[in-house]
Amino acid sequence: MAAKPHRLHQMASVLSSAKKPRMMSTNSSMKEEFAKHADYLNQLNDKRERVVKASRDVTMNSKKVIFQVHRANKDNREEVLSKAEKDLAAVTEQFMSRLVKELKGNDFWKLRRAYTFAVQEYVEAATFCRFCRKGSLLDLKEINSTLLQLSDQYEEPLQINALDYLLGLADLTGELMRLAIGRISDGEVEYAEKICRFVQDIYRELTLLAPIMDDNADMKKKMETMLQSVMKIENACFSVHVRGSEYIPLLGTNDVDYSFMGLPDFDS
């Protein structure tokens, strides 16, 4: 916890004692010190490798969860979502737990580059499942409380930080765009409009946040993609709306039957 500032105190103490020489010029003592450094570097590299490998597993399996959720339609919703949630739980228990095990204390920020994409993908999958289930945003606190359960035996449990959460959320909007187009095809126009408002809200909120995030180059790029997604949903909703509003002299009726849109009445 306070492990690191302590190193800085050490730095300060070296500074105040710089005049009292610590003899270390014999060959053997230098060798000894470097043997320790060699150990440290080897261990750090090994750990980074393990983190990278666990991250690849998290990424790949989170992607599978997302594909699974996309398989849902009006008829199979419950079954498909349950499977997706089960798979997500498996990702958490099998692979996120490995990350949790490695990333204690300072390694969390130090090795962030090695795992950040995996955590983002995991956030994407988890929030996507939740939206499809309840239509609401799974918040970071809840995700982190799930992770907490994996790591009660460690003193400093891995907690996803707000940055990775927000980056994952940005990707979520891409999946929601796909979902919205699919829902319209399935005749669920109101669901699509709900997605539209949800994504507009996220986009607006992130407009305020993106510029003040750490190292926000990635986020900037994602904001552009997100705007494209928002507009795709808006355009799809627009298209359904004008088509549905068309005054059809032939039928002589002007009422809008959205449920009729998109859903072909096949003998399926």
Partner: protein
């Protein structure tokens, strides 16, 4: 409204870490100023001032640095566990700091600074080795023919210690490659001095 609340919370978090970052940068910039003065002082060693005079100038800055590092440690202690989050904001200054301290301590005692964080320290040793060829050349020009042998001995040991490490293809490996050339250059000066019979007889150390 839940989404708004969460984002409001994030906004507060980001603003807070933005403030911390700003405070860290401001301290880092003061550290940098102090280091510039210290460095300018140490560089006089290449103009053959005596080590004692050089060190007096350099040491004057050490107290300044101590206070600044206390302030930095104070800020970091306010955000436990995030040491590496802000690392890039004070890393390069600290590398320079350790380098200069190591160099001035080596000038004073011929020994290496102990107790520094591994990666920082390794980078600094490389940096320090970069200064040594220049030091040796200027010392010989000023008539100190004993210097090359000592520096060479030190650098040879340092180089052989470094070889124990498995470095990734990164910053550190490049620096270490550079050290080979520093070593070569010091050897050449030693050779020049030796072949002309200018090197003093070796004392038994």
């Amino acid at each position: 409204y839940s989404m708004e609340t969460q984002f409001e919370h994030f906004r507060a978090q980001m603003e807070e870490s933005g403030n911390i970052r700003e405070r860290i940068r401001s301290v880092a910039s003061e550290i940098e100023s102090a280091l510039r003065v210290m460095h300018a002082g140490l560089l006089l060693v290449h103009q053959s001032l005596s080590a004692a005079e050089v060190l007096k100038k350099a040491n004057a800055q050490i107290e300044v640095l101590r206070v600044l590092y206390d302030r930095l440690a104070q800020i970091l202690s306010e955000c436990p566990g995030q040491y590496y989050r802000y690392h890039s904001d004070w890393r390069s200054e600290t590398q320079t700091a350790v380098s200069l301290l190591a160099f001035s301590q080596w000038l004073e005692t011929g020994s290496l600074l102990t107790h520094a964080e591994a990666e920082n320290k390794l980078g600094c040793l490389c940096f320090m080795s970069n200064e040594l060829p220049r030091y040796v050349v200027n010392q010989v020009t000023a008539g100190d023919y004993d210097c090359p042998r000592n520096v060479l001995k030190f650098l040879t040991e340092l180089h052989s210690a470094f070889r124990m490490l498995n470095l990734r293809n990164d910053f550190l490996r490049k620096k270490f490659d550079g050290m080979k050339y520093d070593l070569r250059r010091v050897e050449e000066v030693y050779y020049d001095v030796k072949i002309r019979g200018l090197a003093p007889a070796e004392s038994t150390t």
